[in-house]
Symmetry: none
Subunit: 407 residues, 2 copies
């Protein structure tokens, strides 16, 4: 589909704002979803005039992670393109990556001996405090700068988590990250060796093995976190750039590192924002509105509260976003879309498979189907239920940026 779209692109100076309220879709608590409970007069009004529907981030019944759900919404088939878990973890910690780097998710863990056999007693190193993590990672960082000419850097995350990046002197061949996890997944089992699944991955696997040997020697005297497990070996993904794929000069107002990182992977400009508030995102949008064709506006807290099971917290974030809709409309975008990347119902405290409300505002919609902005009302809208990868073609056509297909 992206190839067909590319053939049909027609440049113009229309402006597009795509607002992603992370984890927007919900489930009822006492009969109402978060979106139904929220008072959203501005979004309701837009829904009555605009084109509404629901998108499936990946496929019916599939709960997406943040990587696939964002890729899908941006028109990159999540079955074809992938952002590796190590890369996502690194992006989330604000690490910038290049094509000669391998990123890996790490856990501090507790190793014990059962007779002579080493076993993992706790895969999460007793869920050590983040401060403890920083201290222990610091010990490793101090001693390991590089291994066999490959730069090594470890960055602490929350609790027992960290990101590990190997920087090679040369770009890596395709398949260099095809390496098995060392996490045995069950406590009481021996840690595994990082094993290359093909020839191209041998060099990276060797560095990883050496890293585990040296690092665990350094931290062997730690009580809880005397070992480490590595997962999700991955290289910088080779994604078609947004500007090439859609002819759009794009930027994001996202504040959280992971979303800024995903935007960067697609070649979007990452704008400075004061903080993660919606107010701050809107200010940034206003400041740069003239400079770009496409804005990816991201609200994180809808998802965070969903994950926490904080139903009313999520309702409040939706209501706050609604209050900024008039300011966004004042900029007169040609196409304004409000949707989520996936559903995160507070009652589930996790991402879910449920389709996500989608509202498209433009002069070229039929409107009149939906009476407000909610899961149920979007179902009555003119767009129906569609795959997230159809969102960009819809957005581009409403922005009059696509020529007709065939004569």
């Amino acid at each position: 589909m992206q190839e067909i779209i590319r053939e049909l692109l027609e440049p113009n100076d229309t402006k597009i704002v795509l607002c992603v309220l992370d984890g927007l879709g919900g489930l009822p608590l006492d009969g109402k979803t978060e979106l139904e409970a929220a008072s959203t007069p501005n979004l309701d009004e837009l829904s009555r005039r605009g084109a509404c529907g629901l998108h499936m981030p990946v496929a019916r019944g599939i709960t997406p992670g943040s990587g696939p759900s964002h890729l899908g919404l941006f028109g990159y088939d999540p079955f074809r393109y992938e952002i590796g878990r190590g890369v996502l973890e690194a992006l989330g910690l604000g690490i910038e990556l290049s094509p000669s780097e391998v990123a890996i998710r790490g856990n501090f863990a507790t190793l014990k001996y059962k007779g002579a056999k080493p076993i993992i007693a706790d895969r999460r190193g007793g869920r050590i405090a983040t401060e403890e993590n920083k201290r222990i990672a610091g010990r490793i960082r101090e001693k390991i700068r590089s291994i066999d000419g490959v730069k090594v850097s470890i960055t602490s995350g929350m609790e027992h988590r960290f990101a590990l990046v190997f920087t090679f002197p040369e770009p890596l061949p395709s398949g260099a990250d095809d390496i098995t996890d060392t996490d045995p997944q069950k406590e009481g089992k021996a840690p595994l060796k990082p094993t290359p699944r093909r020839k191209e991955a041998e060099r990276v696997a060797h560095i990883a093995e050496r890293f585990i040997e040296i690092a665990t020697e350094i931290i062997k005297d730690e009580k809880a976190a005397n070992y480490l497990l590595l997962r999700g070996f991955s290289v910088y993904p080779n994604l078609p750039q947004f500007s090439q794929a859609y002819g759009l000069k794009a930027a994001t107002t996202a504040a959280y590192p992971m979303y800024r990182g995903v935007a960067k992977l697609l070649g979007m400009d990452v704008l400075e924002v004061q903080d993660a508030s919606t107010r701050s995102g809107v200010e940034t949008l206003k400041r740069h509105f003239k400079e770009y064709d496409f804005f990816y506006f991201h609200v994180k807290k809808t998802d965070s509260y969903g994950e926490d099971g904080n139903y009313w917290g999520k309702v409040k974030v939706i209501e706050e976003f609604d209050s900024f809709v008039p300011e966004i409309l004042n900029l007169k975008p040609d196409v304004l879309v409000v949707t989520g990347d996936h559903s995160t119902p507070a009652v589930l405290k996790s991402h879910s498979w449920h389709p996500v409300p989608f509202l498209l505002h433009s002069p070229y919609t039929r409107g009149g189907g939906s009476l407000g902005f909610s899961e149920k009302e979007c179902l009555k809208g003119e767009l129906g239920i569609f795959r997230a990868t159809d969102a960009m073609p819809l957005i581009l056509s409403h922005a009059k940026r696509l020529q007709k297909f065939g004569a």
Copy 2:
């Protein structure tokens, strides 16, 4: 899908009428689409009893040309099958083609010299009058009958447009039309040479190059139209025939050459019609009703008025069609479908990407969802939003012409 359908075909003597109101789908003007503004008591009544939905001619967000949109509705995947631009142009001028012919779209143009360099000063030859076009094309026709044993015929279109057909003594190999356009697309640039993109196209490209040399020598003294540009080289497409694909003896009442041409490409019989009026189409339908299983009934003016931005003109054509519905029903077709090939909203003055209302009348529908025949009401119907290529399976099943799949 067509292969699966073919396996399931079950002959019977049911009759199907597919009415295509070209460009039927619309957008609101003062709150109502053309279809909503039109008074259509007969179609409304059918909608309440029948199966309604909306079809996407090609894919979500994609605006189709007439070729892909008709192919889709007839069940031929527009991403797989293509009617070339030259072939469509020739069909539109009433030219019949065979597999040993190449059809090309031509423009008369104005060539000037910038120093020694020839440049295209006007890609449309000053938009000369159709009469002028005929005179100039006549000059070429008189002098060029054939080139290297290949018959050459030029046929004037409107204003600066013409169709050029090369008739080879032998059927052409696949890929023989894979030749670049000579139109530089921008004025002030030099015209391009027709260049074969592969070996099989060399012979046709050579004839085209010779044609340009000889023809421009003939018309070099013309003021505005002293040059010509060639685009859309294409051979007769190899489409599965309708009778083979669906076991249907099919005919069309279409009056406009392009639609008669498309029907012919699919192996339908092209019936004589007195003129392009709906009345005349209905008379033809009545006259031949006993002879065929399937009728493709085409109304052109909905699209023409849409393209002109004539909202009320389009409304009137819809109302006129509605008034003939009782006469069509009197013929007792087993399946009657009323739809469009794509949307042509008068407010856009062009084809658009919006889904197209679809109404299927048969004894075997659930009904009861839609309160009338419009974009909004069709959304409530039992068929939902579906790809146009699903229309033929739906039509065949309601005509009881498909066996069950599997045991």
